[in-house]
């Protein structure tokens, strides 16, 4: 039972690791790494559900009657491309955040925003 569901255990463990990193870490790059791990777990999930016990690659050949399901594999190719696009966009945002805030730590960025807001409020009060 446990061995048979080995893939799914991996999926769940990876998923939790990924989500934990996204939530717990303040470093923007680490967050993206977490997000990628999280997405990867879903890729493995899709690939796992397509496997049919004793099935082979879905190519017509003599003497073979059982094939694995190719559709989820194709679907997940799309999702992988989407995942790469997301990672690339996320990283390029981090680059620009680094350029304007000179930091990639969530706390420092939020602190800078708060300070800006406070100085603006003060200026308005004095005006």
């Amino acid at each position: 039972m446990l061995i048979g569901l080995f893939n799914y255990w991996i999926v769940i463990i990876l998923m939790m690791i990924g989500l934990y990193i996204v939530i717990a870490h303040g470093n923007l790059i680490k967050k993206i790494i977490g997000l990628t791990i999280f997405q990867t777990s879903v890729f493995i999930f899709y690939i796992s559900i397509a496997k049919v016990d004793g099935g082979t690659a879905p190519i017509l050949a003599d003497g073979i009657t059982q094939y694995s399901n190719p559709l989820p594999h194709v679907l997940i190719l799309t999702a992988i491309v989407v995942g790469i696009a997301t990672t690339a966009l996320g990283l390029s945002l981090v680059v620009r955040i680094k350029e304007t805030y000179h930091s990639i730590e969530e706390e420092e960025i939020q602190q800078q925003d708060n300070e800006e807001q406070q100085s603006k409020n003060k200026a308005e009060e004095s005006a």
């Binding site: 967050k31 879903v42 899709y46 997301t86 945002l93 955040i97 805030y101």
Partner: protein, 492 residues
């Protein structure tokens, strides 16, 4: 030609995006995008007409038969949403060129339109498709371009807002992907129509429950339903004004559509509401959302923030209508989707005009603007009245339907709470009115003139629509009722 309308709806903006790159001259690209979006709008009108007359349209991509190939399925609900999205997109685009001249560097104008059209494609695709996995793909097309569009904002906070949205949005979309995977695992199909037949057979399994849970959380993240709304205020406030106007009016509606489509059409009404206590949960969260978001809106100093929080509150009303799980409640939700798009489109476009003239929308800088930009401020006030739900505006119509739906079920306390929630809207709208009409203008704003015509035309188109559909409710109510009834399987 007419038989290919469902796919043209999506293909036209999709193909226009790369063509924009080739044209590469700001004015030309703008005209071309406007044309593409306008064409999409015309197509959506034709589709709605066709659906109202002859019922559901099914379109098979590449001629592959439905459960195996990808099917685009347009019923009243889809057609209604397509109309809202492409209509708002077109109206907003009219003002785009003038607005982004001030807000986005010149060399990025072409990219702006490319992303805008891609985002439009994504939203139209989500609504038009009848294939569950297609939904995910289009969701990501619209989201990825949305992140990039938001990051184009003038202030550096836009980058941070975009990053936060990216993290939340991706988690939401991946949750939806997991849900679709689990559904496929249980049924072996991705076609929505087919899913709705096969899911009931396996409805009592844990896999389907898990799938439903992932789906609801994922969609609610995209929907910015309280308490998953944290990405929305900053993303709306720091994005370029045109982007805010477009997204505020359409993006969350698409997520509401997904919620309705999955719970009613795919999982089925009895599964969603009988097996799982969705009703209490959504009713409570919707009401809390209305109060907390409206109360937060009152304390904001940036007008864009005020209306961003107000959007979260308005989503609360849609959720309350949805949670009633009656045809009347759903009609109210659909009406409010349409009406909210009109109000928020008008308000955020007017704010874009204010930004064009004075550079920001801090409440204090709006002092005395009622005299200097009378038409623009009047538009914001009309939109505000509509948000409150004053009679003769669209806001009144949807609130009225929501209240009757609640009373019909005997939920008096909730109806009273909804009215109290609307009172909070009076406060934040009044703050703007007070500043704009009863304060002396700032010295540096003394020379500010009325917004240019390119703003006034789209703003007032939406304002007039706000009033027109508040008085003549035949079209919107008829379509919304038809869509709601067909979701409950009652032929109208």
């Amino acid at each position: 030609m007419i038989t290919h309308l469902p796919i043209l709806q999506v293909i036209v903006p999709l193909m226009s995006a790369p063509i924009c790159l080739l044209l590469n001259r700001a004015k030309l690209v703008w005209l071309f995008s406007l044309l593409a979006s306008g064409l999409a709008f015309v197509i959506s009108i034709l589709l709605l007409q066709q659906v109202m007359i002859s019922g559901v349209i099914s379109y098979e991509l590449g001629g592959w038969q439905a459960p195996w190939g990808i099917e685009y399925r347009i019923d009243k609900l889809n057609a209604f949403l397509l109309l809202i999205i492409s209509g708002i997109s077109t109206v907003v685009l009219v003002a785009a060129q003038t607005s982004i001249e001030k807000e986005i560097p010149k060399d990025k104008h072409t990219y702006f339109y490319v992303l805008y059209l891609l985002s439009l494609t994504g939203m139209l695709g989500i609504v038009a498709t009848g294939d569950a996995f297609n939904v995910f793909v289009f969701l990501e097309i619209s989201s990825l371009s949305a992140y990039a569009l938001i990051a184009m904002g003038q202030k550096r906070q836009a980058l941070w807002a975009s990053y936060q949205y990216l993290i939340m949005g991706t988690i939401g979309a991946t949750f939806i992907l997991i849900a679709i995977g689990l559904m496929y695992q249980m049924t072996g199909t991705l076609n929505m129509q087919d899913l709705s037949h096969r899911l009931p057979e396996v409805a009592q399994t844990r896999t389907v429950f898990v799938s439903f849970a992932f789906l609801i959380v994922g969609v609610c993240l995209k929907l910015a339903m309280f308490p998953l709304h944290l990405w929305l205020p900053n993303a709306y406030a720091y994005a370029p004004s045109i982007v805010t106007a477009f997204f505020a009016a359409t993006a969350t509606k698409v997520a509401v559509y997904l919620l309705i489509r999955f719970t009613f059409s795919i999982f089925g009404f009895s599964f969603s509401f009988a097996t799982i206590p969705l009703q209490t949960l959504f009713m409570a969260l919707g009401l809390i959302g209305i109060f907390i978001a409206s109360a937060t809106a009152i304390y904001q100093n940036n007008v864009k923030h005020i209306f961003a929080y107000s959007s979260i509150a308005q989503i609360g009303y849609m959720i309350v209508g949805f949670s009633l799980s009656t045809a009347a409640g759903l009609t109210a939700t659909l009406l409010h989707m349409f009406n909210h798009a009109l109000m928020k489109g008008a308000i955020f476009l007017a704010l874009a005009a204010v930004i064009y003239r004075i550079g920001n929308v801090e409440l204090n800088n709006l002092r005395g603007l009622g005299r200097q930009m009378p038409l623009t401020m009047a538009a914001i006030v009309t939109g505000g009245l509509s948000l409150i739900g004053v009679p003769l505006t669209v806001g009144f119509v949807s609130k009225w339907y929501l209240l009757t739906a609640l009373v019909e079920q005997g939920w008096w306390p909730v109806a009273v709470l909804i009215l109290l929630g609307s009172m909070l809207a009076v406060i934040y709208v009044w703050r703007i009115v007070e500043v704009a009409y009863f304060k002396a203008p700032l010295d540096e704003n003394i020379k500010v003139k009325e917004a240019p015509v390119s703003f006034l035309i789209p703003i007032w188109t939406l304002v007039i629509a706000n009033i027109y559909f508040g008085i003549d409710t035949r079209l919107s109510v008829q379509v919304a009722q038809g869509a709601a009834q067909s979701l409950f399987g009652v032929s109208p």
